[in-house]
Amino acid sequence: MTRAGKNTLFRALLIGPALLAITCFMIVPLGLMAYISFRGRDYSGGVLWDQFSTEAYVRLFFERELDGTLALNLNYMFIILRSVWLSFLTMVISLAVGLPVAMFMATRDRKWKAVLVFMVTLPFWTNLLVRNYAWILLLRDHGTINSTLMWLGIISEPLPLLHNAFAVAVGLTYSFLPFMVLPIYSSLEKMDFRLVEASFDLYANRWQTIRRVILPLAFPGIVAGCVLVFVPALGAYITPELLGGGKTLMIGNLIGFQFGGARNWPFGAALGLFLLALVLISLGLYARRYRGELEGSQ
């Protein structure tokens, strides 16, 4: 065997496990999903493995009448639109809350920083399901918030806080806020705060300093945080299930339902791929829009 051949073999052996893992855990499942999405479905809910069909994709936008004609049905699109909207809202609220928190954390002493980072990650120590149940206790009609407000005499009737879009947005923000705080914190923490002094020295007031110096330098962290919040929020399952009370469905619940109760795997798979495409397209647009800033702040 030649020397070059040996090298190639050696490299193949080194990279092999990683390739195997990616193949087994990413390419095969995705391929399987894509395959199923193009299969037919029999009346009992089984997948017709030998029948090619685009029925699942047609179903995303149309409803088949009894006589076989197609009628436009945007109900699924509404759910997807609501998912995008709620995820976007979650991202914006997380950014609005997370940025000042990250800024506060990054400007503390080294000792305090460690404590604060620990506190931000503290919710991860308990199960997401449990934490969402906790929000039910807070938000329900006779929950902590409503009973406190009624006791204070601010309201006489309980506010409808649970089982609506508001509850889902609150729950999602709560669940994903640390994913916003931590990347921004890490980019601010690396920042040289003498730059802030330099900015003050050059006649920039606080607001101008934040806008012209701190935000541009925190930008990579902000982008990372937005992606880390938006993407998992879009596919959220537990939070809309519990806090939306089945009325505020998101795309994750819809997909779950297709694989479960509805027994329509091809449609579930098509929804999953649609969600994937949605995420990839929005990330692509995002990267394109902010490429310059991201490279500039390295």
Binding site: L195, E197, S199, F200, D201, Y203, N205, Q208, L217, G296
Partner: protein, 374 residues
């Protein structure tokens, strides 16, 4: 908290030619047992168009004083006046002073010209003025070709010049420089010393320069304030500071110096126990037989063959430096002295180890330092 002198009923005032007036300024960091008095009741008048240097070892309070003038720190007591106006209540962005930071603190997300124009933009100057001033500044620091480079794409020396241009662009009344040359190598530092002096003369802006490098201070400054332990020990021209140090610390910190314990004998005579007498022109009001320290620069000592009227010594070491030779010699009381002799001619007078010599110093070259209680 911020007790300016005004609150004590004494009016704050400053002379017309004074750019920065520092009045009884103190700064204490921390509290209780951990409190550290970085600046202790410092007062100084920095004149207009002056190259004023704060010189001292690290931790002497020079950077704290600079940061108090810039407004990055709030004084524990005292006040800073700029052109007679009390700056105490003004945040840094309302003070017409700019700083060149030790590590430059250039904005990494901006180009060279964006860095330079930042201050002008924040001041809300018209666009065409920003453009022309930025171009002027680029020319002043000879970086026209680098205008659109990112900060990470230029060398340390160039970054240094960008930092200068950025701070000069808004035409501040006072430019504060915090050890701006310390990150440069020796060659570049020498060049920048001349460059800085040229910029100061060209722009006519008051420079307040902080350094721990005595060489930098002596070559660039109009006046130097030597600081130690949060206090200003002596203010004067480089020549005064070097030739007439008034404190043991000042004498020792700047250049080489021989310190001789002595006693006052009256009428400018000082007795060095077991060695002999020296004369000094320094007027001293000390009583007779008071303990003092005489300070003599090595290059002011004249060595000769032992003779009457000269003080005796024995050469203990000879170190050749090219331009000059340093003779170490011992006095009768064991004290070691150094004399620096320029090698003016090829056959410059020389002594060898063990030679008995006589030495003398002109009365004008002997400084009398009161023995600090500290």
């Amino acid at each position: 908290m911020n007790t300016s002198i005004q609150s004590d009923g004494e009016p704050l005032s400053a002379k017309d030619n004074c750019a920065v007036a520092v009045r009884s300024l103190s700064k204490v960091f921390g509290a209780g047992a951990n409190a550290f008095r970085a600046l202790d009741d410092v007062s100084v008048d920095i004149q207009k168009n002056e190259f004023f240097t704060l010189l001292g070892p690290s931790g002497c309070g020079k950077t704290t004083l600079l940061r108090l003038i810039a407004g990055f720190e709030q004084p524990s007591s005292g006040a800073v006046l700029l052109d007679g106006v009390d700056l105490s209540s003004k945040p840094p962005y309302q003070r017409p002073v700019n700083t060149v930071f030790q590590n430059y603190a250039l904005f990494p997300h901006m180009t060279v010209s964006e860095n330079i124009s930042f201050g002008l933009e924040m001041l809300g100057r018209p666009k065409d003025q920003i453009k022309s001033v930025t171009a002027d500044m680029l020319r002043l620091v000879r970086l026209e070709a680098m205008a659109d480079r990112r900060i990470t794409q230029i060398s340390g020396g160039q970054q240094q010049r960008v930092a200068l241009a950025r701070a000069l662009a808004p035409q501040p009344k006072v430019l504060l420089l915090d050890e701006p040359l310390s990150a440069l190598d020796l060659q570049l530092r020498k060049e920048m010393q001349l460059e800085l002096k040229r910029l100061q003369t060209d722009t006519g802006i008051t420079f307040v320069f902080v350094t721990h490098d005595q060489d930098e201070a002596l070559t660039m400054s109009d006046r130097i304030a030597v600081m130690n332990g949060g206090e200003i020990l002596q203010i004067g021209s480089p020549r005064e500071i070097y030739d007439k140090p008034q404190h043991r610390f000042v004498a020792g910190f700047i250049g080489e110096i021989n310190l001789l314990p002595a006693q006052t004998m009256g009428e400018g005579n000082y007795s060095i126990a077991g060695v002999g007498n020296l004369r000094s022109d320094d007027a001293s009001n000390l009583p007779t037989r008071a303990a003092v320290t005489l300070a003599v620069r090595p290059e002011r000592i004249a060595l000769s063959q032992p003779s009457a009227g000269k003080l005796p010594g024995v050469i203990s070491n000879v170190v050749y430096h090219g331009t000059d030779t340093i003779f170490h010699f011992k006095l009768a009381d064991g004290l070691e002295m150094r004399a620096r002799s320029q090698n003016n001619t090829a056959e410059s007078r020389s002594f060898a180890k063990g030679d008995d010599i006589g030495w003398s110093v002109d009365a004008s070259s002997v400084s009398v330092l009161a023995d600090d209680p500290s």
